[in-house]
Assembly symmetry: C2
Homo-oligomer: 307 residues x 2
């Protein structure tokens, strides 16, 4: 099964206590696509500028990723610079140059229209909704958003939430959308807004999936997956998008939609995030094997399972 | 098997978004003892004042807790007042009256000296060490501490850490002791200071146990237990001490010391903490049944286990 991702492709400058890199491939679409590519066919919808070369595109196509939906526009690719201090949980932005991303209008190639899985990366909620409505065959839509849209485009975001089956956001975003400081209560409120499931990401503490009563099976019990305790996190950039890629990629690879699949997907999300942070940018995601991924899945299991 | 706890018994005034209570039973020793009492024999070493009545003591003795080590001193019992705002993770202290606790010199009754399990609650590290050295038969010592001792009595704390088998603290305390912002790295450094295992508590995200290479079995993989997502946390006071009580109580009930026992103990710690926060003070801990505890243990398992 194929998964389509709509998101950003970017060049990043990143500084962390482990070092510095410049102009490395980044963006939510790139991290997602690379992570998901170890599980299923991935199709990207994004926009890049003239500085995005065949060499850059090869990073994606070598992983079998379909890049026909990457529009090449006049101008420069989206650029972001940020740094992390001792507390690696928080990125400080040094600069953001939207460039060609500023007027991004996602265009879905006809060849993508038979896709059954869709991930709406963090773009304007009205664009997210438009993409979803264009894709008739989609069985499961995952979505991301951020504080900027929650504050500045709330009405459009609420419309989009009705079209999203699984929302993947962090704790602070969930509390902000719901206007509630209790995460389980915020989750219940968000599930009443549309999504059948909500994944909230807790950074170094893993993630929790909350199910709407009866969605994807019986009951309403949440499920938690850990994150891996890693001694040296080199660069947390893209961990959340890699999580989403592992999560959605695994689901698309299974085809069936039930709680057991979504729980395992939560583990695979954590696994892919744990690889990403071991190196700068997408470096680690470019050179994995499925055997390494499954070995780490076992580590995640041992980290949490009794007996 | 019996577990001895040395800690505080207090009266608390607490305000949270769910309400207010005054003069309720509290203190690390009381929470620990009540939580552990569902698993094993518990013996308390503490000090109280003249305002601590037979009625108060009955709360403990009704749970079969041995209170012969509770010294009744002239003066008033330790009193603490605090409040929680929307973010329930952090208590703001309104007042602290140490009273009889200020000059607390733990005295271990002779009848306690055959105990094989010991928990050193959060008191001056030199007092913790003295208690440990008095108790010849102890096979496993658990210990707690806090930022105040880490800063003001570091040398004594380092001495005490050599006598502690399992240190139970929160993430911030672990990072402070080790002087390292990475939790896994801080854990490794602390395990080199003495303890064979370190339990770091992550509040609403559960807890992780790190093992020194080869301690309690093979390998050095950590293990994570969740916390229960609870919609209305009424009062987080004592959750950490209840965690320690469930953890140590379960270990003492098993007798054998291996990783599987310690992992399950981590789950039981989370279970007891999850009950405590449902009501103010020790109220919930006074009226539990082992069946309720084991049912919640199953919920914790379902929250984390695949298949």
């Amino acid at each position: 099964m194929s998964v389509v991702v709509v998101g950003s492709v970017a060049f990043d400058n990143i500084t962390s206590p482990s070092g510095s890199v410049e102009n490395v491939l980044g963006g939510s679409g790139a991290f997602f696509a690379l992570a998901a590519s170890y599980f299923t066919n991935v199709r990207v919808v994004a926009v890049v500028g003239e500085d995005f070369t065949a060499e850059h595109e090869k990073v994606l196509t070598e992983r079998g990723i379909d890049t026909r939906g990457i529009e090449h526009a006049k101008g420069k690719t989206f650029r972001w610079g940020g740094h992390y201090q001792e507390n690696l949980n928080e990125a400080k932005t040094d600069f953001t140059e939207l460039n060609v991303f500023e007027s991004f209008q996602p265009h879905i190639p006809e060849e993508y229209l038979d896709s059954e899985f869709l991930f709406l990366g963090n773009i304007h909620p009205a664009l997210q909704a438009a993409v979803r409505l264009e894709m008739d065959k989609v069985r499961l839509t995952g979505g991301d958003t951020m504080n900027y849209w929650i504050n500045s485009a709330r009405q459009e975001l609420l419309e989009t939430l009705r079209l999203v089956n699984v929302l993947l956001i962090n704790d602070a975003e969930a509390k902000m959308i719901a206007g509630d400081a209790s995460l389980p209560r915020a989750a219940r409120k968000i599930l009443a807004m549309g999504p059948q499931a909500l994944v909230t990401k807790h950074g170094e503490y893993g993630a929790t999936i909350f199910f709407r009563e009866g969605a994807f099976g019986i009951g309403s019990h949440p499920f938690r997956a850990p994150a891996l305790p890693i001694e040296e996190v080199k660069d947390p950039t893209g961990a959340g998008d890699s999580f989403a890629g592992g999560f959605m990629g695994y689901i698309a690879s299974q085809g069936t939609l039930n709680r057991e699949v979504l729980k395992r997907a939560l583990f695979y999300g954590g696994v892919m995030g744990s690889f990403t942070v071991e190196r700068f940018g997408t470096e680690r995601l470019q050179q994995l094997s499925r055997a390494e991924i499954d070995a780490r899945f076992q580590v995640f299991r041992e980290l949490t399972h009794l007996d």
